[in-house]
């Protein structure tokens, strides 16, 4: 096998591994197989669940980002907040549609998918960079990220499903939100050193965007339906569960 062929084979493997992590996101829709009808109260609980998962994921991203560069991470977080503010303004100027749904619900669902998709760019970079550290590290990161993506799919489904999106479409949007992973993994692998320096910005960007999304959309909506105490308990427990998941899986 020539060196060029070896590189080509490796690129295929990098793509395949990152694609597996993306597909795993769709598994997050599965728990909703057992939930037939969602009342406004259940929808608010689902929002709180999504908020906790996203908050836990953000804290994990910040933790990793700060280890790579605190200043860059927080600059990235500021850019992430700015990105959501601008996206909200742009969506606010139009009447967005999401499938057959329009208005505020469509805007919220679009934002959720946009935020989760954008945050996947940083994870795709993580897969690509991990291949630069050897096969064992790459496989470990791939498996970890695939498992880590499942609750992210759950968070997306928790926002989409109560608004009438079918379970299959929820799984599809979850996988879609992770497609930047295979797309970003290859350039990250080819330009590993250059990309490694940009990673804290990306991690911070994703964390900032997710925290802002939780604060501006998910929590206010949940407060409209259930008591703050219940939201606090749901968000708190899912945040800690997500952090434990990231620590040990």
């Amino acid at each position: 096998m020539t060196a060029a062929a070896a590189t080509h084979a490796s690129l295929q493997l990098v793509f395949l591994c990152a694609l597996i992590t993306a597909i795993a996101t769709g598994l997050g829709a599965l728990p909703f197989l057992f939930v037939k009808k969602l009342s406004p109260r259940r929808a608010a609980q689902a929002n709180a669940l999504a908020a906790g998962l996203m908050l836990g994921a953000s804290l994990g991203l910040l933790h990793e980002g700060v280890a790579a560069g605190a200043g860059q991470t927080f600059l990235g977080a500021g850019l992430g907040v700015g990105f959501i503010v601008i996206t909200q303004r742009l969506l606010g100027d139009h009447e967005p549609e999401f499938g057959r749904i329009s208005g505020a619900d469509a805007r919220r669902m679009l934002l959720m998918v946009v935020v989760m998709t954008v945050h996947s760019f940083a994870e795709g970079v993580a897969v690509g960079v991990s291949f630069g550290g050897g096969m064992a590290l790459a496989i470990t990161i791939t498996v970890a990220l695939a498992i880590h993506n499942i609750p992210e799919g759950l968070a997306i489904t928790a926002v989409l499903r109560p608004r009438g999106i079918s379970l299959l479409a929820c799984a599809g949007w979850s996988v879609f939100s992770s497609l930047p992973q295979p797309i970003m993994a290859i350039p990250a692998y080819l330009l590993v050193e250059q990309v490694r320096g940009a990673l804290p910005y990306g991690l911070g960007f994703a964390a900032g965007a997710m925290v802002y999304m939780v604060l501006v959309e998910l929590l206010p909506e949940a407060y409209g339906e259930i008591a703050g105490r219940q939201i606090a308990m749901l968000v708190g427990l899912t945040t800690v569960a997500m952090l434990m998941f990231q620590q040990y899986i």
């Binding site: 804290l59 910040l62 907040v81 939201i231 308990m233 427990l237 945040t239 800690v240």
Partner: protein, 235 residues
């Protein structure tokens, strides 16, 4: 952090509850954008300090920090539910709310003490946020007591007294972590859990009502980011 300074500074924060009780019972307009932003800044600072204490706990013993966080959440939930418990509702003259406020402030004191173990900046930040938080807490308790027949100055005094458990618990935790290092990750985790509960159950709902979701989200994110950035050298 010096224990004497801790008790004086957090004692001052506790007296802000009395100020809140006086203002609240006079029907002072404890609403509006300014108070919303103050609440949001306090919530953001708490979130930033929460991130710092959890990171420090995770760096010591992750499992202990996580279990501590769950314990902190559950404790706050229990204390919040206490005034509705059958045994406690039989207490006379709205004293169930005084008891609940005292327990509540004791758990907040645990968070202050845990933050103070990370260093003076964290303790100072958190005490400042509790000074803001105590105004609205005091206003609510004060109004409840006055409605139950208490005189306003007495209500303010009792409200401050209930909050006095905050500095006492803070100093106790600072001393305990100094003497028993094994307890530290548990307490750091518990502080995170208690702070997260407070932010979501109490501070954000008020802030959203007072100033709207967009500005509140921006203020909370900014304040949390500033504290988290400052926290990188904590451990």
């Amino acid at each position: 952090m010096d224990p004497l300074f801790l008790i004086l500074w957090s004692g001052f924060a506790a007296t802000m509850a009395g100020v809140g009780a006086l203002l609240g019972t006079r029907r002072f307009p404890l609403a509006g954008r300014g108070l919303g932003w103050a609440n949001a800044s306090a919530a953001g600072l708490m979130l930033g300090v929460g991130y710092a204490v959890l990171s420090a706990g995770q760096a010591l013993v992750p499992a202990a920090a996580f279990l501590g966080a769950i314990a902190g959440l559950l404790l706050m939930g229990l204390v919040d539910a206490a005034p509705r418990a059958p045994l406690i509702t039989q207490l006379p003259g709205a004293s169930e709310w005084v008891l609940a406020s005292g327990l509540h402030s004791a758990i907040e004191g645990i968070a202050i003490g845990a933050a103070a173990t990370l260093g003076a900046p964290f303790g100072n930040f958190l005490i400042a946020t509790f000074a803001v938080h105590n105004v609205s807490e005091g206003a609510v308790l004060g109004a409840t007591l006055v409605e139950s027949g208490w005189r306003r100055p007495h209500a303010a005094l009792v409200t401050t007294g209930a909050r006095a458990l905050q500095p006492l618990a803070a100093v106790l935790i600072l001393e305990v972590t100094g003497a028993t290092p094994a307890a530290e990750p548990w307490l750091l985790g518990a502080a995170f859990g208690a702070l997260l509960y407070l932010i979501i159950a109490e501070m954000l709902p008020d802030a959203y009502r007072q100033a709207g979701r967009t500005s509140i989200a921006a203020v909370v994110s900014l304040a949390a980011g500033v504290v988290a950035l400052l926290s990188r050298g904590a451990r």
